[in-house]
């Protein structure tokens, strides 16, 4: 798709957003029972990461294989708050030290570690959901992009971070819950998050947050920043020689991607009711890249569909044919790279979008001359 229009929304964009909104807010809730809806809510939390990856990788050319780190950090911040709320002295009266999370008690800790303390307040926890991943991303970004490390080196080093964080969480069982993660989360400010009604509410909250992120992403893509990102991806040196500070743009977009991932992680914790290192490591991080690639690495709307489709396929395939799933996923990686580099969005742009445009243009031609946007989008 060419960036022919400077407007925030071309007609194609409006169609894309409207259809997605209809799917997320009307079609899925109407057709699915509450268990399946919660499952799709979980898939949609991965869409946050995928949208961030569209900005970083599709637009900016920065492939991060460590998005699971940010997803996990956001999720853990939320889980720490919920865990503290669940671990009241009354609920944990049977422990040798009542009032601390159960896994700490199992690991012979007798007091809450100091860095757990602030997570007693919801405001702090909500801020941390975004701030902690962004801080990490900022440190990594400054260290890497200022030294002009990019491409495959960046990918390998972010992957190393995913490995480091996983080993750390699993190793420090007493502080983090170890390989089981933080489980048995019950209430948010007294509101039980385990009921069907609560899960439904959380699904809509998740949807609204996802659309906010999509709007931010759309704004970034259509702004000057978005076009600079694409220019940097294609000819980094030329942008640098034109006087732009390439590293700062990269750091910003990497932090934005991390913030999206953090929000997604927090919503995951709320909807699924636990957080564990299995969502942080190398394997989930690289799977998040495939959500983005399947949807189309250049399309934020496509990324959401990618996350939904791949996860839905994963759940239904691994339920009935567990041994086929890895073949499917592996084949998907290869096919999406070799055959459809622009993913679903590319197929849509090549085959469906021109037809819709023709249809709409014909209609508007009956009334008057086709407007600029239609022509621009058709180009």
């Amino acid at each position: 798709m060419s960036i022919a229009s400077n407007r925030l929304f071309t007609r194609q964009d409006i169609i894309g957003f409207a259809v997605l909104a209809a799917v997320v807010f009307i079609v899925l809730p109407l057709t699915l029972d509450s268990f399946r809806l919660n499952l799709f809510g979980k898939y949609l939390t991965y869409a946050f990461v995928a949208v961030g990856l569209v900005l970083c990788w599709g637009a900016g050319g920065i492939l991060s294989l460590g998005q699971g780190v940010f997803f996990g950090l956001g999720g853990y911040c939320m889980a720490m708050f919920l865990k503290l709320e669940a671990s009241t002295p009354e609920n944990t009266a049977i422990q040798s030290t009542p009032g601390i999370p159960d896994f700490m008690d199992w690991n012979q800790l007798t007091a809450l570690p100091w860095w757990w303390e602030p997570f007693n307040t919801l405001t702090f926890a909500l801020l941390a959901v975004v701030a902690v991943p962004v801080m990490f991303a900022f440190i990594i970004g400054v260290a890497m992009f200022r030294r002009r490390v990019g491409g495959v080196y960046f990918a390998i080093i972010t992957q190393a971070f995913a490995a480091i964080l996983t080993i750390l969480i699993i190793g420090q069982q007493g502080f983090t819950g170890g390989v089981n993660g933080i489980t048995d989360l019950r209430t948010l400010q007294g509101w039980d998050i385990r009921t069907d009604a609560a899960k439904e509410t959380l699904y809509y909250v998740n949807g609204v947050l996802l659309f906010s992120c999509l709007l931010i992403a759309q704004f970034v893509r259509k702004s000057k920043l978005g076009r600079l990102l694409i220019a940097m991806r294609d000819q980094e040196d030329r942008v640098r020689f034109s006087g732009y500070d390439v590293a700062s743009f990269k750091i910003f977009i990497f932090c934005l991607g991390a913030a999206f991932a953090g929000i997604g992680g927090a919503m995951f914790t709320l909807q699924v009711g636990f957080m564990s290192p299995t969502l942080v490591g190398i394997v989930p991080s690289i799977e998040m890249v495939i959500f983005c690639a399947v949807g189309g690495r250049l399309s934020i709307i496509g990324a959401v569909y990618g996350a939904l489709l791949v996860n839905w396929a994963k759940t239904s395939l691994s339920e009935s044919f567990p041994e086929l799933w890895l073949f499917g996923l592996g084949g998907l990686f290869i096919a999406v790279v070799m055959l459809f580099p622009n993913g679903l969005a590319g197929l849509y742009a090549d085959h469906v979008a021109p037809r819709i445009d023709r249809l709409l243009s014909r209609k508007s031609a009956d009334v008057g001359p086709a407007d600029d946007t239609a022509r621009a989008a058709a180009e």
Binding site: R147, I156, G171, G331, L332
Partner: protein, 308 residues
Amino acid sequence: MFADYSMSELGAIFAMQGFAGLILFSVFVLMALGLAIIFGQMGVINMAHGEFMILGAYMTYLTSTLFEAYLPGLFSIYFFIAMIVAFFASGLLGLFVEWSMIRHLYKRPLDTLLATWGLSLILQQVYRSVFGAREVGVSIPDWMMGSLPLTDLVEIPINGIFVMVLAVAISLAVYYLMFRSSWGLQVRAISQNRVMADAVGINTAWTDRLTFGIGCGVAGVAGSAFTMIGSTGPTAGQLYIVDTFLVVVFGGAGSLLGTIASAFSISQAQSIMEFFLSGSMAKVLTLLVVVGILMIRPQGLFSLKLRK
């Protein structure tokens, strides 16, 4: 913390720990050599590298089972044949993968990464379907079992020595291939200036394929060596891949000596810290230090001076 130990005990602990580090070093070198060829010279990220190693390990397992059943008399030397089988099995698979996949993606290194990750998932599932989900171990010939007592306190396992000898031998072989053979000359010429190499009549497409195949073959031999010190499971390859890439990047891509030096420093740091800290914290600290140094010196320890 040392108060409880006598001097000789401390010496023995350090010697044993240092030796454990040397075995880890050999393992890292074996893993990294194939990758140093593929990533260092061609710039291709092969995320399925671990699975090529595991293929070598399974080939060794098959060979040992065959020898046990049909040629028990020659069982003591089966391992050398197994290594050759492993080299050719992994190497041929490498040639095929290069021909069917990698050659279309040379211009898109990040996409190669994703495609080879997909390949690694498929290979894992193939191993699981063919050999089962449980880990398999090979029977080691008698002469490789036991250990050499150096002093009363220090004992050195023979299979560890064998893996170290193998690491040295394979390093020498790779060195010879890279710097003394005409193939190595061509590979280095291509990595310095592909267009020029093409112009002077080097068949770059074929050299690329051969390079990829030899890199994968070396990975297969490494996997074969691993069966001497551990068992093999379908997902074992994935455990190694991050370490291996860090070793190669830390050493400086393109530098064989750098790869060996970085394997040495990472393995020694890790095994010495393991004595003071828990295993996981030692690993975390080692990785953090490596990543930290890479942030300060992105080109790695030893970098080739190349005109870009």
